[in-house]
Amino acid sequence: MRMSWFNATSLTLGFAFLYLPMVILIIYSFNESRLVTVWAGFSTKWYGELLQNQSFLDAAWVTLKVAVFSSTLATILGTMAAYVLVRGGRFMGRTLFSGMIYAPLVMPEVITGLSLLLLFIGIGLDRGVLTIVLAHTTFSMAFVSVVVSSRLVTFDRSLEEAALDLGASPWDAFRLVTLPIIAPAVISGWLLAFTLSLDDLVIASFTAGPASTTLPIRIFSAVRLGVSPEINALSTIMIAIVTVGVITASLVSKRSMVRQKRDEQAAARAT
């Protein structure tokens, strides 16, 4: 099937719109001049300066710590919540529970941030890495539970029943059968929570203390003053990491799908 010129044009323009700003950003991160809008020759010096900038490195370290802890916690809690929602049956306050899980998906970040900050002040918890981790866990577990529960809904329940039937305890059935099979969804839930945490500015701004500036907070205060070549360099590094990650992940999943398909065809031929 050949594409009509209309479809081809809308795709070209659409993807140009989506990608051009980032491409420009990447190109100008290699600009020699500090005047970011004027091209003055190729240079990698801003990358060098970035690596010398202790405040960026500190912020990056804080962000990484927060992201690892909060996404891991969010994955555990989000998977539990998804399991409860899909398999838990009825219990007291189920409606409230599902409401609380999905609300953060549509909640403006300013409100989530404000309310959590007021809580932390109310209970006298000093703001720092811990409070950011708590805040990020709460809002990203919603995303994890959406990803995991959509996998659980299509999960063939007779697999769990078969495990029970063969003598596995409910915990063994989960550990040995359900978890390995839904693992891809759990992993993508973790990745999503991790990126959300890396990315978050608003909630972190509310819940961070003076000694726990995250990278987005640091970037935000820098770009408020306008475009800077260091930020361009930093952005390029972040875009590169994400791109490599996403492409690798999709290649891996594509390869395993192809292999599975080939196996199935071979099995069908064998009969």
């Binding site: 063939d156 007779s158 697999l159 029943e161 078969a162 495990a163 029970l164 039937d165 063969l166 003598g167 596995a168 305890s169 409910p170 063994d172 059935a173 040995l176 059968v177 390995p180 099979i181 599975q260 196996d263 199935e264 071979a266 099995a267 069908a268 064998a270 009969t271």
Partner: protein, 388 residues
């Protein structure tokens, strides 16, 4: 005579006595349903049902979808609990026992093979839960692989084998723990017709070899008739008839069973006794009378149905000599099925009666064609008189 004892007679290693523990009052049933009722909300899936199943039986639960047969099976496995009533396994009430503690295993309709484990590990899954010593476990898995002819596929994952092989893995996995009772939920539903027939005999073989009691759920009457020692025909949560396949076919207890199993002509009319176990059946449509034998008593003038299998109706060009029941008609349609032909014969205006004859000769020599005048005849014992 059932198919099962017939098969056993052909084998010198098995006793030639007829296997019929249900007829022996000294036999204790392996499974006993006592007044079991199961409701889902307002819906009654199982309605005050009692049933005994004996050791080494191959018992089939047969019925249309939604008749409650799957619920029965899930209650035996422990995935559903009865709303009221008692279920016994070897004399013990198993209702409070969770599924993972029951000496019952199930073969799932979808097979439910664990996709992330190899065939070998799937079969070993249940044994590992019992912490079986490694040597014994290996021996048992190998034994199961051999029984189901899967030795070559032990290292493969479920998606790397064919549908028929998957079915055998599911069987091997559920038999590995040597359960007292094996439940099979539509075990052959996913296979095509040819493979299904071969597998039916394989299942019967394995059941005999292992001596396990099998309870199979199916909606396929042919399958139930082929494999089972006894068949329970179910409808709307109730047992309609529990009997050997031959009895179900030859002596159905209701129009429902007669109609559900195989092809049948059902005539409506009234009966009048003419002698011991002999009745005059007056056909409501035409007023014609035929003679029918029945062990069940009927009162004079009672409305009843006469059920006659098509293969028990003879078709001929002339009225057969000395035939007690004969009706004249016209050939309306012929269904040629290769080994047999079914004639749809129009009698008394609009009524169609089906008659079957074996094609022992080549088709060119066929005796009747469309619109031929023919005679249908049958013996008094060919039909069954049913009261409802």
């Amino acid at each position: 005579m059932t198919l099962r004892p017939f098969l056993q007679q052909g084998r010198p290693d098995l006793p030639a006595t007829v296997f019929a523990p249900w007829a022996d009052p000294n036999q204790k049933p392996l499974i006993r349903f006592q007044n079991v009722t199961k409701r889902f909300g307002d819906f009654t899936a199982i309605d005050d049902l009692s049933l005994d199943i004996y050791e080494r039986e191959f018992f089939a639960l047969l019925g249309p979808s939604g008749c409650g047969k799957t619920t029965m099976m899930r209650m035996l496995a422990g995935f559903e609990n009865p709303t009221s009533g008692r279920i016994e396994l070897a004399g013990q009430d198993i209702v409070p026992v969770p599924p993972n503690k029951r000496a019952v295993n199930m073969m799932f309709q979808s097979y439910a093979l664990f996709p992330h484990l190899t065939v070998w590990d799937n079969i070993a899954f249940g044994l590992r839960r019992d912490s079986m010593p490694k040597i014994d476990l290996q021996r048992r898995v190998e034994e199961m692989l051999k029984l189901t002819r899967l030795e070559k596929f032990a290292r493969r994952k479920p998606h790397q084998i064919s549908g028929g092989q998957r079915q055998r893995v599911a069987l091997a996995r559920s038999l590995a723990k040597a359960p007292k009772l094996l439940l099979l939920d539509e075990p052959l539903g996913a296979l095509d017709k040819k493979l299904r027939q071969d597998t039916q005999f394989e299942l019967m073989d394995i059941q005999e070899k292992t001596g396990t009691t099998f309870v199979i759920v199916t909606h396929d009457q042919e399958e139930a008739m082929t494999v089972a020692s006894r068949v329970a025909v179910m409808d709307e949560g109730r047992l309609i008839q529990v009997a050997t396949p031959a009895d179900i076919y030859e002596a159905p207890n209701s129009v429902y069973v007669a109609d559900f199993i195989g092809d049948v002509n059902i005539l409506e009319g009234t009966v009048r006794a003419t002698g011991p176990n002999r009745y005059h059946f007056t056909w409501a449509d035409t007023g014609e009378s035929v003679t029918a034998a029945s062990e069940r008593p009927f009162s004079d003038g009672q409305t009843a149905h006469l059920a006659i299998r098509p293969e028990k109706v003879q078709i001929s060009a002339e009225r057969p000599e000395g035939a007690e029941n004969a009706i004249k008609g016209k050939v309306h349609d012929i269904a040629y099925l290769g080994n047999i032909s079914t004639f749809h014969v129009r009698v008394a205006g609009e009524r169609i009666i089906k008659a079957q004859s074996a094609n022992t000769r080549r088709i060119t020599n066929r005796a009747f064609t469309w619109e031929d005048d023919v005679w249908l005849s049958w013996t008094p014992t060919a039909g069954v008189v049913l009261s409802d």
